[in-house]
């Protein structure tokens, strides 16, 4: 390699150095630091040299932490509701708007309003709806229509609290799915539908044989975003139930916050973060693989 080539290569490296350094500083370093934190006992206040190395004790404790696994199950339940009802609603509305219903543009704006609201604001709105006192909207209307016996403290009863949180999350989240699905539907060439109609396909057959196969990549994106977004839910819970009653609406992020803020266990919270990240990673990979298989078939 002559001098000019070395200079050429060095120049290239120098050009990418700022990007690499920023990536290392703001992504790679925190990521590695998380692993380091997870094997130490540290309260986040004492100097780092006073942190105690505990090997994999936090991971072992996590396996036995019932409230953690309960929070995983509950986040899984909300995700299941979001994957089914939320996305079914988003798809139905996207199909309706794609068919050119009247005022479709206005609907697009309205449906996309909840996702742009902060989780805390959404929580406040639904706190008022579910409020157990007489000014709670839901209980007020139940009473007005003669179903007063159904009125209850929706967010405080174990049977209803998690479902209510899931409903709030779906209300807030369906706009995202709607926009992505609508974009996907609009990218399907109209000629395919015309060809299907000429071949004698009715609306259902067009949907089954044209829309669904061409929408598989979009479904994959929507499903992955729904899983990742819902499993990481927390702001709505903070604004409505604080994880209660008992542990009935706790989710992984609220448990991490409890470990960090409630008891200053940075190492334990980091171990939770790693396990949670790994689970989401595995779920996403499995989903992508399954989707690829479905598409091939």
């Amino acid at each position: 390699m002559n001098k000019a080539e070395v200079r050429h290569i060095a120049t290239n490296y120098i050009f990418i150095l700022p990007a690499v350094a920023l990536f290392a500083l703001f992504w790679l370093y925190p990521f590695l630091k998380l692993f380091q934190l997870s094997v130490f006992e540290w309260d986040g206040i004492l100097p780092w040299n006073q942190a105690v190395f505990v090997k994999f004790r936090h991971f072992r404790d996590l396996l036995r932490d019932l409230s953690w696994w309960q929070s995983m199950r509950q986040a899984g339940f909300i995700t299941l509701i979001a994957l089914t009802f939320q996305n079914a609603l988003a798809l139905a509305l996207a199909l309706a708007c794609d068919k050119g219903i009247r005022a479709a543009r206005a609907y697009r704006m309205i449906y996309f309003l909840p996702p742009v609201l902060a989780g805390i604001v959404v929580g406040l709105i639904w706190n008022w709806i579910f409020n157990p006192f007489d000014y709670g909207l839901l209980n007020y209307w139940l009473t007005r229509i003669g179903l007063g016996h159904l009125a209850r403290a929706w967010l405080s009863e174990p049977k209803t609290a998690l479902i209510c949180v899931a409903i709030i999350h779906c209300w807030r989240g369906f706009g995202w799915g709607f926009i992505i699905l609508l974009a996907g539907l609009q990218s399907i060439p109209r000629e395919l539908y015309e060809a299907a109609r000429i071949d004698g396909a009715n609306a259902w057959e067009s949907f089954k044989r044209v829309t669904i196969p061409l929408m598989v990549p979009v479904f994959v994106i929507v499903i992955i975003l729904t899983i990742l977004g819902t499993m990481q839910i927390y702001d709505i819970i903070i604004a409505t139930t604080q994880g209660g009653p008992h542990f009935h609406t706790e989710v992984p992020i609220t448990r991490m916050l409890a470990a960090l803020r409630g008891s200053s266990r940075f190492g334990y919270a980091s171990a939770m973060g790693i396990v949670f990240g790994l689970i989401l990673f595995v779920v996403s990979i499995v989903h992508i693989k399954v989707s690829q298989l479905v598409k091939q078939e």
Partner: protein, 428 residues
């Protein structure tokens, strides 16, 4: 080409150095005293006091408000890690974390200043207000004994009752329930009159734990409570089961408002101020909150009705907030001087008058409204978790309070909760 490369390198270095620069407040600290706090309702009064101090001494004091309190708390922790704490700040944490701040060298020991001129500064405070900032010799955290903060105000948490709603339910507003039986009876009378019983922020687990501890002190006394924290008495002890059972009693006698287990204290305060519940379990800070929401609210203050006559009824109390001086600040002495002035009689009286909070300086009590006097009268009998010789592990405290929520919603029995809490304590 060389020039281009050099320019890129310089821009990159400037970028990196920008990332590493310290906060403005620290750099400029030699010119002014910077105070960080979380007390939204007191910001205006603090600014007024800062103006007065500037006129008196020529020293600029800047109050920087960061709210809500959990965000403030995270900010202080992050600043401690990066050595960018301001000259004066408050620590919102349990005593163990407070001790970590001290051991990391972030908090000045104020003992010698407090003891100057025959304990002049120290003796001005209610001892209950100062206690939380004191580390005695032989403390379990290994902190050098001393006084590490100056209290701003004091608080305690008691039972409030709405006099108008009492009248509507046929209860005597001048003689609120004094025993547990009378309390339960009041719950049923209120229910019969269509009035909600009690509201409180029991979705925030510390407040539900506070209510339980009040009764633990009343039923088993301080020594047994401390023995439990030490691990010498199990939570399955009949006295603790009795404490847990009180919540079942309250639920069964219609004393607890619907939704109380997920209620945040702000919502509870609104409900009490708007006369939607007859009882409120809240701190002395509520006086200012209620005044802001409903100046005509007619209410009284009482100790939670005693369950047992064996031990006195005690309530949680101590400083509402304290300020610490940054030991590493180049403005340390200026900050201490300001804090001394800030917590002295006239300034405390001004603060108490403007914000309707109990002053930490006992010489300033004459200006407080009558309703606050009731809180002040019971200050001597208060306890505070951070003043007990042993502190419970946060995980156990969480299980304890969440367990009580489970009792209230009828999901678990007092015995089951007691066993679960004890099992967790033994495992940790």
């Amino acid at each position: 080409m060389r020039k281009t490369l050099l320019s890129i390198f310089v821009v990159f270095l400037i970028g990196l150095s920008g990332c590493a620069s310290k906060q403005a407040s620290t750099v400029e600290s030699s010119k002014k005293v910077v105070v960080w706090h979380w007390l939204t309702d007191r910001q205006d009064t603090f600014l007024e006091l800062a103006k007065m101090y500037k006129e008196k001494t020529g020293v600029d004091v800047v109050f920087e408000l960061y709210a809500p309190s959990d965000i403030y708390s995270q900010k202080v922790r992050a600043a401690a890690q990066t050595d960018t704490l301001p000259d004066i700040y408050g620590i919102l944490a349990e005593k163990k974390d407070f001790s970590s701040f001290i051991k990391a060298g972030h908090v000045a020991n104020l003992t010698s200043y407090m003891e100057q001129n025959n304990n002049e500064w120290k003796d001005a405070f209610f001892i209950k207000a100062l206690e939380v900032n004191i580390f005695e010799s032989g403390n379990e955290f290994g902190v050098t004994p001393g006084i590490y903060g100056a209290p701003l105000d004091v608080m305690n948490i008691q039972m409030l009752y709405n006099k108008s709603l009492f009248k509507k339910a046929g209860l005597d507003p001048e003689n609120p329930p004094a025993t547990w039986e009378e309390f339960l009876e009041a719950g049923n009378k209120l229910k019969a009159a269509g009035i909600r019983g009690m509201v409180s922020g029991w979705g925030e687990i510390w407040l539900i734990g506070c209510f339980a501890y009040d009764y633990a002190f009343n039923i088993m006394g301080e020594d047994k409570v401390i023995a439990t924290l030490r691990g010498d008495v199990p939570y399955t002890d009949p006295d603790w089961v009795t404490v847990f059972r009180l919540f079942e009693d309250m639920r069964d006698n219609n004393l607890l408002a619907s939704g109380i287990v997920t209620m945040v204290n702000k919502v509870a305060e609104q409900a009490f101020a708007n006369e939607r519940a007859a009882f409120g379990f809240n701190g002395s800070w509520g006086v200012n909150v209620y005044y802001g929401m409903n100046p005509n609210l007619d209410y009284g203050v009482m100790l939670p009705p005693a369950y047992s006559s064996k031990y006195p009824m005690r309530v949680l109390g101590g400083p509402g907030g304290s300020f610490m001086v940054n030991n590493k600040s180049s403005n340390r002495e200026k900050a201490i001087e300001f804090l001394r002035w800030f917590t002295s009689k006239n300034q405390q009286a001004y603060l108490a008058k403007e914000t309707r909070n109990l002053p930490a300086n006992k010489e300033s009590l004459s200006v407080i409204p009558p309703i606050l006097s009731h809180f002040a009268d019971d200050m001597d009998g208060t306890y505070h978790w951070n003043n007990l010789p042993v502190v419970e592990k946060p995980q156990v405290t969480e299980m304890f309070s969440k367990g009580i929520q489970a009792i209230i919603i009828g999901e678990k029995t007092p015995e089951e909760v007691a066993s679960e809490v004890q099992a967790l304590k033994e495992r940790l």
